[in-house]
């Protein structure tokens, strides 16, 4: 893209719990690196990365936005991600393609539930991280308490590289433990000016104590550094930084910095830490090539290293549709690609021609002619490439490790206000679902209604709003419904014969299928064990299609059936009367009959709920959770408040916020996120079935 050497590129994400200050920190980074000439504020609705109307109106980040800046001769590509759990897909796909992340936690609350979720996601993709304890200017901020929550909740070796000087409104700067100096910010100039000075005398002992911890921990991963220490009794700043970088990349420990982005303190050293400790594309082991079917995943999998001269390999991780067409965001892992080149979409097995290419700056774009290993760019003109697809050179058609997408838990029915808008709405929803893999679209086979499934009420509300604003489709929506699923709890073998041979061209097909339950989240698995051509090969796809279509409408209450295996073991056909259609019909009927006898059950989403309440309302909150079929997991006190953690069925959580507010006079708050699917109790299942009848 540019002449920046690979070792001077950083591809990083900024991730955290909602309202921890991700967008505010990104805004300061853009200001201090000279990309923007004034600082936008979330509450003023004028930040660079929150460019959607809905983001500016609501003061939250909904979609991840990519921006690029330069700092000390390095290029930093940053993706600012949303904090709200409903938009977790954005964090997921960003972390998948980044080499490192800045993980922000709040100086008052410490690690919050969404911080934990994002942390685990970053673990899944082995993303090296530096932690920034933000908002140290806030009343109630406590660096050491927030720091302690890193160990308690994330179970990590957190390693302070800085200590705060002052706290709350007295917070003026930080002690840099690597160089053993104080960094103090001056007033005015929006924090751009700061100076070094000696560590304040009253903090010197504490600083020495923490520097020893830093040396102990960091040098444990650097034998040459240990030797230098034994030789000289200390190590150079260069050696210490090298050791910290090694430990950060391996995950042996997580460096911790601090400040207050809103009050413009601590951001410049954070940028230095991004350069010093987070990896460049050449410092990481390379992305894994997907395991072959049946092959176990592990360290033996081939990795693609960042090399501009290698055959091209890239991963499409985000799609957006705007007035200019479809933009496909691609992380380039290897090779070089020019506009006009062709590549293979190895996931789908077809060729794609690259039209124009852009470097994105939030919603603005700059055309580029070439991308190389390590770059993140947006391509225009790809015909059929979706999120998670690999683009690769024909001479090395690799498929990169796939992305995992979250399970939608809430359904709403949606129908256009006018008949004329039906087609327009369907096309618009298909485009929106193409952009967002956590949004699913299906048609209810019985009612013919379009059902949208999403991650939460806010997620679906934003989609309906976009439908109206971006596509001009006014739609009526049903009340949010729990996204129930159906499955089976015992194995059953069913034989079904479909026969219509009453003169003229007839229909004949017989299938014998074993239906078996699978563990949660294993999906639907098909196996063909037919021998001797009892069901001719050309009819097997029709059997699969029949089951797939019918599984969308479960036998109990019409919800999609999941987590089962079906094995086609036998069947019969007729030379003249058998057809693909006859086998599809037979498979559908076999499913309907077989599932009923395989002890079908309804599954419901169970949510992890965390409520923060003043101590005097704990009794009410816990009692109310019990009435909602909640299982209390634990309670923890934090100052004068209590944090109650519970697992509660989603069905019982609709409208919870107003109840909680009235119970606690508006003093409690809660967060929730999907945890797992569980069978619903018999009485609830009866209610659900009666409603669907």
């Amino acid at each position: 893209m540019s002449g920046t050497p690979l070792d001077k590129i950083r591809n990083i994400g900024i991730t955290a719990h909602i309202d921890a200050g991700k967008t505010t920190t990104t805004e300061r980074i853009l200001y201090y690196t000279g990309v923007s000439h004034k600082i936008g504020e979330v509450h003023d609705g004028n930040t660079t990365t929150d460019y959607m109307d809905q983001e500016r109106e609501r003061g939250i980040t909904i979609t991840s936005a990519a921006v690029t800046c330069e700092w000390k001769n390095h290029r930093i590509n940053i993706i600012d991600t949303p904090g709200h759990i409903d938009f977790n897909i954005e964090v997921n796909r960003s972390l998948r393609v980044l080499d490192g992340a800045v993980f922000i936690i709040e100086g008052v609350a410490g690690v919050q539930p969404q911080s934990e979720t994002n942390w685990r996601l970053a673990d899944r993709y082995n993303v090296p991280r530096v932690i920034f304890i933000n908002k140290l200017d806030r009343t109630g901020a406590d660096f050491y308490r927030a720091f302690a929550t890193l160990k308690e909740k994330l179970d990590i070796v957190a390693l302070p590289l800085q200590l705060p000087i002052g706290i709350e409104d007295q917070f003026v700067g930080v002690i840099d433990l690597v160089e053993m100096k104080a960094i103090v910010w001056e007033g005015g100039e929006l924090g751009a000016k700061f100076h070094d000075e000696a560590i304040p005398a009253d903090l010197l002992e504490k600083a020495k104590e923490h520097r020893q911890i830093l040396l102990d921990t960091a040098l444990a991963v650097d034998d040459a550094g240990m030797e230098e220490y034994f030789d000289k009794g200390d190590v150079s700043v260069e050696t210490l930084k090298r050791a910290i970088k090694t430990g950060t990349i391996s995950g042996a420990f997580r460096p911790v910095l601090c400040g207050t982005a809103f009050k413009n303190k601590g951001v410049q050293p954070l940028l230095d830490a991004v350069l010093d400790y987070l990896p460049s594309p050449v410092d990481v082991p390379g992305i894994k090539v997907a395991a072959e079917e049946g092959e176990e995943e592990g360290d033996h999998q081939r990795r693609i290293k960042a090399d501009p001269k290698a055959p091209f390999a890239g991963l499409a991780f985000k799609i957006i549709n705007d007035k200019y067409g479809t933009l496909t965001f691609v992380r380039v892992y290897a090779g070089t690609l020019k506009s006009g080149d062709s590549v293979l979409n190895t996931t789908k097995g077809h060729k794609e021609r690259i039209g124009r290419m852009f470097q994105m700056h939030a919603d603005k774009r700059a055309e580029i002619k070439e991308v190389i290993a390590g770059d993140i760019a947006a391509f225009v003109g790809l015909k059929d490439t979706g999120t998670g697809d690999t683009l690769a050179a024909a001479e090395d058609p690799v498929i990169l490790e796939r992305m995992a997408f979250p399970v939608p838990v809430i359904d709403i029915s949606v129908e256009p206000r006018t008949k004329e808008a039906v087609e327009k709405m369907t096309l618009a929803l298909q485009k929106l679902a193409g952009e967002d893999p956590s949004l699913r679209l299906r048609t209810d086979q019985e009612t013919g209604q379009t059902i949208l499934s999403g991650m939460g009420e806010l997620h679906l509300e934003i989609i309906i709003d976009r439908l109206k604003r971006e596509y001009g489709v006014e739609a009526n929506i049903g009340a949010p419904q729990v996204a129930y699923r159906e499955t089976i709890s015992r194995t059953h073998t069913e034989t079904y014969t479909h026969k219509k041979q009453s003169g003229g061209s007839g229909q004949y097909a017989e299938v014998k299928i074993i239906f078996e339950p699978l563990d949660r989240n294993e999906g639907v698995v098909f196996e063909n064990k037919v021998v001797g051509g009892a069901v001719p090969k050309e009819y097997i796809p029709a059997v699969e299609k029949g089951i797939k279509v019918q599984a969308d409408t479960g036998v109990l209450a019409g919800f999609p059936t999941v987590d089962f295996k079906y094995t086609l073991v036998d069947g019969k056909y007729h030379d003249v009367d058998s057809s693909a259609l006859a086998f599809e019909i037979a498979a559908k009927a076999c499913f309907r009959e077989g599932m009923k006898k395989a002890n079908p059950i309804i599954l419901e989403p169970i949510m992890d709920v965390e409520i923060t309440t003043p101590q005097d309302h704990v009794g009410d909150v816990v009692g109310d959770l019990n009435r909602r079929r909640g299982m209390i997991q634990n309670q923890e006190s934090s100052g004068s408040t209590i944090i109650v953690r519970a697992q509660v069925p989603l069905k019982e959580m609709f409208g919870y916020i107003s109840n909680l507010r009235s119970m606690t006079k508006g003093r409690a708050s809660f967060t929730m996120q999907f945890h797992h699917y569980d069978p619903v109790p018999r009485n609830i299942a009866d209610e659900i079935m009666a409603k669907s009848a």
Partner: protein, 100 residues
């Protein structure tokens, strides 16, 4: 007593082949009189799985610990005796020197 410390064995033969890190504390004559040692990865033996280990000069096992101890899995060893534990090698070195 301050010692001169030098890299010890990078790899120690065990049945499952985990990597061990070892530092030797040398006296003025250059003789190893203390060591700090840490084993990465569990060791599987017929008696179970062990997470931390100490070995003597002949690489004979002198201590096996089923879990990384809360006070650290770097062991400070003098002769055949574990004299302290720490979360990091430098801290274990200080424990060994303090015990001399």
């Amino acid at each position: 007593m301050r010692l001169r410390w030098a890299r010890g064995r990078g790899t120690i033969e065990t049945t499952t082949g985990p990597r061990a890190s070892e530092w030797l504390g040398l006296d003025d004559a250059g003789n190893p009189i203390a060591r700090v040692i840490h084993l990465e990865g569990p060791v599987q033996t017929e008696h179970g799985v062990f997470r931390a280990i100490a070995l003597d000069q002949e690489a004979k096992l002198i201590r096996l610990l089923p879990l990384p101890p809360a006070d650290g899995d770097w062991l400070a060893v003098i002769g055949g005796r574990v004299v302290g534990r720490a979360a990091a090698p430098l801290a274990a070195v200080r424990r060994a020197e303090a015990a001399l």
